[in-house]
């Protein structure tokens, strides 16, 4: 069973759109006055029961996209649409209403839970807050909390309610964070590196849980990760980010098996692969790190590291090129047709 993959087969592409990012741009302003365009013109959509993986290295802006979608940052330009309606987050009521629908799960389960409170407290709060009524009596809260814990496979739930974060393993804490997100009854779950702090044998369980919840609750799931291998296994679509931009997007299998953008190719060749017998050193050029985001930048940010870069890559913004059905890359090299193979 490979989680989301099993969901792919039985499903047609007719699932409804829940959340859409439309040309999101976020420019941070440093105290020195320097501006940092962390996210530039990012568009993507999350659909019911589907997983979209947002893949990129640290500093690529992938977490900022998740935060923009969660309403934790306001975009500099562009907008977020929930079920087709533009999202306005003015005032507490609107924010709370939005938080009920769109929940975020953070990377570090060791700091996202309050060590002074029991698991029960962590679940009761969102239940009370988002059910919009204080009429929920204690027994009902306990029952729902326990049920939520069982939904994330912490069984028996009632037993785990009494525990404190320090009494739980990393994987169990992450399950509690997921249960807490579910307590609000969301339609969208934004998972920001949900397994990168966990051990290999634990990761699989959490990813399967997320894939299962996506299917059962018909959630739109954004899986933010730097690990394109897990993205391949647990998502339907992959969007690859580099320096604040989505450079390639498409069905997970197409993007990982036939990557078109040179950056995606680099990313994939960097993944440890036991099938590769010989140690293949990286091209020297790729060693250059992601530079500062401010100041003068080439039109294609990847150009300085790209083995195929031409002069126009530095000067003119690259076009979006369709590689195959639903598979797009933003690259001059792909546009010139050298790379497009089927």
């Amino acid at each position: 069973m490979t989680g989301a993959k099993s969901a792919v087969t039985g499903e047609t592409a007719e699932s409804a759109e829940v959340l859409r990012a439309d040309g999101l741009t976020k420019v941070f302003r440093a105290r020195s006055g320097r501006t940092v365009p962390a996210v530039r013109n990012v568009s993507l959509e999350l659909n019911e029961g589907r997983v979209v993986a947002l893949v990129g290295e640290s500093g690529s802006g992938k977490s900022t996209v998740a935060r923009l979608l969660a309403g934790l940052h306001l975009p500099t330009s562009g907008r977020v649409l929930f079920r087709g309606e533009p999202v306005h987050l003015k005032g507490g009521v609107a924010r709370r209403k939005y938080a009920r629908r769109v929940q975020i799960v953070l990377q570090d389960p060791f700091s996202s839970l309050n060590s002074a409170y029991s698991v029960q407290h962590h679940l009761a709060r969102p239940l009370l807050l988002h059910k919009g009524s204080t009429s929920l009596h204690r027994g009902e809260i306990l029952e729902r909390s326990a049920h939520l814990l069982e939904e994330v496979n912490l069984v028996p739930g009632a037993e785990y309610l009494r525990r404190y974060p320090h009494e739980l393993s990393g994987g169990q804490r992450q399950r509690v964070s997921i249960a807490r997100a579910l307590a609000a009854g969301p339609e969208v779950l934004l998972a920001d590196e949900p397994v990168s702090m966990l051990d290999v044998s634990i990761r699989l369980g959490i990813l399967r849980l997320l894939a299962g919840l996506t299917e059962q609750r018909r959630l739109g799931l954004l899986y933010v990760t730097h690990d394109i291998a897990t993205a391949r296994y647990f998502s339907h679509e992959i969007a690859v980010m580099y320096a604040g931009e989505v450079v390639e997007t498409g069905p997970a299998e197409a993007v990982t098996r036939r990557p078109a953008h040179p950056y995606t190719q680099l990313l994939i060749s960097a993944v440890p692969d036991p099938g590769r017998r010989v140690w293949v050193p990286f091209p020297e050029i790729a060693v250059e790190e992601l530079g500062h985001m401010g100041g003068e930048q080439p039109a294609c940010r990847f150009a300085p590291r790209c083995p195929f870069a031409q002069s126009r890559c530095h000067e003119v913004e690259a076009p979006q090129v369709q590689v195959s059905d639903g598979h797009w890359a933003k690259c001059w090299h792909v546009a010139s047709g050298d790379e497009v193979t089927t």
């Binding site: 069973m1 490979t2 993959k5 290295e57 640290s58 393993s169 990393g170 994987g171 169990q172 051990d199 290999v200 044998s201 634990i202 990761r203 699989l204 369980g205 730097h226 690990d227 394109i228 291998a229 897990t230 391949r232 296994y233 647990f234 299998e253 990982t256 680099l266 990313l267 994939i268 060749s269 960097a270 993944v271 440890p272 692969d273 036991p274 099938g275 590769r276 017998r277 140690w279 050193p281 990286f282 790729a286 060693v287 790190e289 992601l290």
Partner: protein, 359 residues
Amino acid sequence: MAGIGQSRRGDIRDGNGDVLLVRGLEVTYGRSEQKIRAVWNTSFSVGSGEFVGIAGESGCGKSTLAFAVARLLRGSGRITSGEVIWFGDGLPGVDLVSADDQTLRKIRWSGISVVMQAAMNSMNPVLTVQSQIDDVMRAHDPSLSRRDREERVRTLLKMVRIPVDRAGAYPHQLSGGMRQRAMIALAVALSPRLVILDEPTTALDVVMQRVVLDEIHELQQTLGFSVIFITHDLPLLVEAADRILVMYAGTIVESGVASELYERPMHPYTCGLTASSPRVSGDVVELTGIRGSPPSLKELPPGCAFAPRCDRAINKCTEEVPELAPRNWDSGSGAREAACHLYPPVVGLAASENGGGGS
């Protein structure tokens, strides 16, 4: 002890010998009642120029093992039994466990150097990269002149592809990847025979992880040191290491040549690890993973520590601790080292009466 190690152990003085031999190592934390055995009954060897990978999950004792080998245990951690024999340049073995401070100081940096897990934060924030490397060289090799040292710093930084004009930078002015590479430059500054790297790439993203690994490989080729590389990432080791040791709950449960160990894992834990990592190439295969979570070192289950999570466990597994020994693999394609009752030990060894389990 390793079959590979055994064949090498005869000639310890020349380049083909071991640089390190660990025998029956046990490390405990805490006092009598609250004592935790973080590492127990652990034996392995590292050959000259060999890249040995140690794979295991958090809490399996892999970092404690590295600290113990380098005699850097802190707090209540103590080596309670076993030996760590170090074979310096042409010298007879020195047991690091009983070595005095003076001997240890001679061996550190120039014999064994360690790159810690938190290497990104283990540089001194108020000293430039250059002066930190200079510091180490001055303290451990007073024969080098100022000019020699400057020259060496430049060469080292070039080796790890840090632009020479960054030598005067402070750690916070470098990116994570660069800091890690600076740490590696520091570790090889005095041409040690063994470099121990504890999760050196864990905090980096895949591209930078690859770059750092490339660098370690390249440095190893040019300088010829041995490597102990500790990580939780088994696929990474399969590509990078010559030999892999898999640790679980404080001890080694399997050891073998990297590619063999990955392709035909013996111990059910190793099987579980290999079936937990999705791959980017090839077809999408079923990932089975491992159920449950690792045991607490405070209260290890009786018998094999992995038995409660093991689908193939037999009665014996909960009764008797399996020894790491050469065992016969079903297909008859030669023995490998594993600590698992499912495989019969190679005849001629102490525990030869057990033939059950196998098949």
